[in-house]
Symmetry: C2
Subunit: 299 residues, 2 copies
Amino acid sequence: MSLLVVGSVALDDVEAPGGKVEGVLGGAACYFSVAASYLTKVAAVGVVGDDFPTEHLEFLASRGIDISGIYTAAGSTFRWGGRYHESMNDRDTLFTDLGVFETFNPDLPDSHRDPRYVFLANIHPSIQRRVLEQTRAPQFSAMDTMNFWIEGTNDELRQTLSQVNGLVINDEEARQLTEENNLVSAAHAIRDLGPHTVIIKRGEHGALLFDEHGIFSAPAFPLRHVKDPTGAGDSFAGGFMGAIAKHDQVTPEVLRSAVISGSVMASFCVEDFSLDRFRSLRADEVDERFEAFRKLTRF
Amino acid sequence: MSLLVVGSVALDDVEAPGGKVEGVLGGAACYFSVAASYLTKVAAVGVVGDDFPTEHLEFLASRGIDISGIYTAAGSTFRWGGRYHESMNDRDTLFTDLGVFETFNPDLPDSHRDPRYVFLANIHPSIQRRVLEQTRAPQFSAMDTMNFWIEGTNDELRQTLSQVNGLVINDEEARQLTEENNLVSAAHAIRDLGPHTVIIKRGEHGALLFDEHGIFSAPAFPLRHVKDPTGAGDSFAGGFMGAIAKHDQVTPEVLRSAVISGSVMASFCVEDFSLDRFRSLRADEVDERFEAFRKLTRF
């Protein structure tokens, strides 16, 4: 197995200046795996309730994603509702109904225990660690987290961080985790906690990669129309890990190129609600935007 | 004459988390011309009061800057006081005493009327236009502005904008000027007002260049220690215009490279209070940081 992701599968309600959708496909594992599917073979592990529309699983499968690790439990699928403000940089969470996700703590099937690359999306850090410990020596493992775990389960989070190779985190969370306001200092502090590779996502301002070879700065793609930022960070992570898996090596060059692949997938994600942009997105459009990133940054 | 800048010469009081200074050298024309002096021959036009310390003029002259256009008027030098917050992104203006700057409306000496490149720093748009009209056919002219002029002298600002080739403006001002929240849309709207080249400064997030060839995104240099952001935008403009004057052509390649030169000079500016970093900055350090920008963005 090339790439494994563990995380949420959700049904989202989203309000944004450009429209409103209800009960649409969401969740970190979905955004991640669909974005990664343009680059590599990916397997998703998650849970859905018995209310989850079959068509969503069919869509994931149509992207070549191994969904055998997404199991159905009695109860409701995780539901999240959010509203974006005019600037698109701020959002209010309107509700979070965990449903069957509340007790999510997967036992990996044996077929899923040998991934070369593993991504632990934003879930309880102890569950992240338990999943990681079920895999046998992946080449590169990375994780995401959020303010809720930084505040509530800091010790467990630090324990998990000490076991992964990479952290993909947004700027505010990096500051909160390290109590460092400066992002360079924050990244150094995170590297001291374990991960040799740290990626700080800055939304419309792009992403910074910190590793033992220095710093790489990638812009976000300047888009004239952003419809729905939901899932951009998870799509970024999917593009990033997907590109690493595609190259099947973790060199400084591959990491930089992978950050651009992540930025490419995030830029498509926000062009429509839910995962809708990926329903029509072609491989040649992905390649084209990667080249557009070269043109955007070359001097 | 290669490059001409018209703007403020000031004495600043600055409070920041790392310290506090009083009555130090400041003003857009000073930051601009000192930054540009690393790249080209620059002349500054401005006014100081009879209280202005001679040592500051000597410092400017020591950088090879033509200060014959900085005249002394009876009264006080423009004084500005500001306080930065912990994040360094926000500041409060504590006071603005215009002094002799209030009636600044220079007649260019004949020796200053043939610059190949002109920069109109942030002053009343009608005075910017009057200065521009005193120059004979510069190759490339650009300007800055601020919220005060956007709100109070919008018609005059639009008239001046219709006569310059470039606008260097920060993100919030670009949004305010165009009433477009999206920066790509804002840049398009500004280009419709006249300037074919638009640079949107985003502070610690870098700068975007928009011209007829597309978009170029430059990061800010990731610094671990920022002491005083005052003058970063003016130093950026000085590096940008200085690099254009150095290459003495306005091609898409030169504009991109010039944005990096601007980012280099801004990155040094913020490393110390006032213009103090420039007092010790060597040309080889400037070249080295330009190369560091390549390493920072290459993939």
